[in-house]
């Protein structure tokens, strides 16, 4: 894939914020491929212009999250994640 389109996980924050009610980039994930635990903001993001966004594990390149927005619908493929750990917001 074109290395020049590689960004950090925080570059996907805007798209993720449209879908999720919590700030996804500060959550921790476990990679379904290699088990790496890290923050989504530290993962690698590839933006395919006009198509969507892929968030990949920096250790094993596994696609953690795939986002596609098309014809008024968001498609969210999370099968590359073992889990997402979301902080409970008090109150």
């Amino acid at each position: 894939m074109d290395d020049k389109l590689r960004l950090d996980g925080n570059a996907a924050a805007g798209s993720l914020r449209e879908i999720f009610s919590f700030e996804v980039t500060s959550t921790h994930y476990a990679c379904g491929g290699c088990g790496r635990v890290d923050q989504i903001g530290a993962a690698m993001v590839y933006e395919v212009r006009g198509l969507g966004t892929i968030i990949r594990c920096p250790s094993c390149d596994n696609a953690l999250v795939r986002l596609v927005h098309n014809r008024g619908r968001h498609w969210i493929d999370l099968r590359g994640l073992r889990y997402l750990q979301v902080e409970d917001v008090a109150g």
Binding site: D3, K4, D8, N10, A11, A13, G14, T25, S26, E47
Partner: protein, 248 residues
């Protein structure tokens, strides 16, 4: 029926003032209706819509502190950019700009997070780091902070005077420049790209457990982050942000 999203996060900001920072860089001072505030380091997405309906968007870091009156985006002109030439050459005070945000919870710093801070930036990558430095000053924080900032030339150092002023009245703030393409007569500072050797000399000791933020529009962020980890810094305390060519 399919699940529906009702969230509309896009809103129209008004350009209040355009401030030239360097020959290639301008700051846009924005008034954003019902802006709920941001954390230093966060960004906004800017969306442009052409007359035929074609839309394109880019992420821009916020350069202003949460305490500042206006939201400030500092934008570098990229010759082959799709969005930045519009922002740097066309947009004027009184124009509207569609944006959403604040966005991001990873590359952020608040005075209460403490430090010490080691900030590394190149070119317009200074923007989110400047938000942190401005926030630190506005919050009267005395967190020891060192900025290593790479610019092409002396004229292209963004926020040079403001950084000088802030550093001159605050012994806990150090600003170190490196110039990669040309140096003025008598320049005694670094004159090369940031490399492992420079980081060894300039980076805070890993023993201090500093919090490092690295931001640049190019791939140099990964090299800096890797070099810091090799010097003994904890990977989780080295945060990078890379708004690559899509920052154009």
């Amino acid at each position: 029926m399919a699940a529906q999203l009702r969230r509309t996060l896009w809103r129209l900001a008004e350009v209040i003032e355009v401030v030239p920072e360097t020959p290639r860089t301008r700051s846009l001072l924005l008034e954003v209706p019902e802006w709920e505030g941001h954390k230093a380091g966060q960004h906004v997405d800017v969306r442009l819509t052409a007359e035929d309906g074609y839309q394109t968007q880019r992420s821009y870091s916020i350069a202003s502190a949460p305490e500042d009156e206006r939201l400030v985006l500092t934008v570098d002109h990229l010759d082959d950019g799709e969005v930045s030439p519009y922002l740097t050459d066309v947009l004027m005070a009184g124009d509207k700009l569609e944006l959403r945000g604040p966005i991001g919870g990873y590359f952020t710093w608040e005075a209460a997070d403490g430090g010490p801070l080691f900030l590394v930036g190149g070119g317009s990558g200074i923007a989110p780091l400047m938000a942190m430095i401005r926030h630190r000053a506005a919050a009267d924080s005395d967190v020891p902070t060192r900025l290593l900032y790479s610019s092409r030339s002396y004229e292209e150092i963004i926020f040079r005077e403001e950084l000088e002023t802030l550093a001159s009245r605050d012994s806990a703030l150090e600003v170190i420049h490196t110039l990669t393409r040309s140096t003025p007569e008598g320049w005694a500072g670094y004159d090369r790209r940031i490399d492992a050797e420079m980081l060894r000399e300039v980076a805070r000791s890993p023993d201090e457990s500093p919090l490092a933020f690295v931001c640049d529009p190019t791939s140099f962020v990964e090299g800096v982050a890797d070099a810091l980890v090799r010097l003994g810094h904890v990977p989780a305390r080295v945060k990078t942000e890379r708004f690559g060519p899509t920052g154009g």
